[in-house]
Symmetry: C2
Subunit: 241 residues, 2 copies
């Protein structure tokens, strides 16, 4: 690998890259399904179905013409749809329970290397979120998990959802950076592909357990990214932090 | 004082409340004035004049109809005006020097109690900025001074400058809070007055040296705020942190 000039700021995808959404949401959904008397539904499958709505929803968002709507609201809509797909009418359930279930996405647990890796990377680089999560969601998650962000940025600041180019370029602009001074750190080839198209630098973090050990839906988009590591601590090693 | 229900989140004014703009800008302006051969100009007076343009500029901003423009840009415009007032044409100066001088506002030093006070308050409350400073400015200042913000919010997130009500109410909305769940912490009665009109809780921090020992321009707006302290560590005491 030829030596790549280091970025000025590191911007992180969060769901899957920094936190383990599948274990956290499965565990919480198991409890909520039991509370509503639906413990026969597989919580892992329920979680995958909920996440699938997110992935397809985000890809379609820019074309939908819908006004910017925060992810907390979209997560709730997607929960309602997931429930309906299982034959459960969300209108029959306690709204406070549905809100709490939705906010499980605010309580996702970091991967074991995340806090140490971010802490080390932060010594040398400003570390910011470039996530589709809204500010209140990211703030609560950071406090729950001890994620030491310098700033919470991403969709709600740029008013655009990844993979819309405005999400990446808008973040660089707010930071006062040229695109190639910003590096996206992400576990998803699809996200990195969109970032690279905008001129950002890219760092891939392998998270083989993101989908419970099954292949990621975007595995075919793999490229030779500027950096590639098995954890955030390994990325810190590579960047000399 | 009757017991006031504690807020959910603390939002901080920054210039003057958390950092000492006058000492920092005076010291840097002294160096820059010397660099351009104008060392006969009093750096403290220059600083006060620059800040005065900010205070009047912000009060007029909402009525101006101007599109939202980040504070880094406004600071530069105000520097140019301050130079012109002294008979110096900024067009004759090195643009890189003027940029660096403007960015002195990104390098303001915290008051001696700020880092300890914020660190203690953060244990119990999310702490966010509710400043007119833009995100890149606040981010660099936080890293220079070790300010442990949970999130950088304020003008660039709400696209409105204090004392515009949208700056206060928009911050509460992004956090998913009712106005009275948010408390503005500020050294300025004018800022607290505007926040209280919007329904926020208010905490006053006395910073008698903000104007080098002279009275603040908004001293006559003093009210009985929910909390009032001589430092951020004293506020931490009062809030049980």
């Amino acid at each position: 690998m030829t030596e790549t000039r280091k970025p000025t700021v590191l911007a992180f995808d969060v769901f899957g890259t920094v936190v383990d959404w599948r274990s956290s949401i499965s565990a919480e959904s198991g409890l909520f399904l039991a509370k509503i008397g639906q413990q026969h539904i597989d919580a892992g499958q329920f979680t995958d179905d909920w996440r699938k709505k997110y992935l397809s929803g985000m890809a379609a968002y820019a074309k939908s013409g819908r006004d910017f709507t925060i992810l907390d609201v979209l997560h709730r809509e997607m929960l309602d749809e997931t429930l309906r797909d299982k034959g459960i009418d969300p209108a029959t359930l306690d709204p406070a329970l549905l809100q709490d279930w939705t906010f499980a996405w605010r309580r996702l647990k970091p991967w074991p290397d995340s806090v140490e890796g971010l802490t080390r990377l932060k010594r040398r680089f400003p570390i910011v979120t470039l996530s589709n999560g809204n500010i209140a969601l990211m703030l609560e998650m950071a406090r729950c998990g001890g994620l030491p962000w310098d700033a919470i940025m991403g969709a709600e600041v740029t008013r655009a959802y990844k993979p819309d180019p405005r999400a990446y370029l808008g973040t660089a602009e707010v930071l006062g950076l040229a695109a190639d001074e910003l590096c996206l750190v992400a576990a998803h080839h699809s996200d990195l592909t969109a970032a690279r198209r905008c001129g950002l630098k890219t760092a891939f973090i392998a998270r083989p357990m993101e989908y419970g050990g099954r292949p990621a839906p975007d595995a075919k988009l793999a490229q030779d990214w500027e950096w590639s590591a098995g954890s955030l601590t390994e990325l810190a090693d590579q960047l000399g932090c």
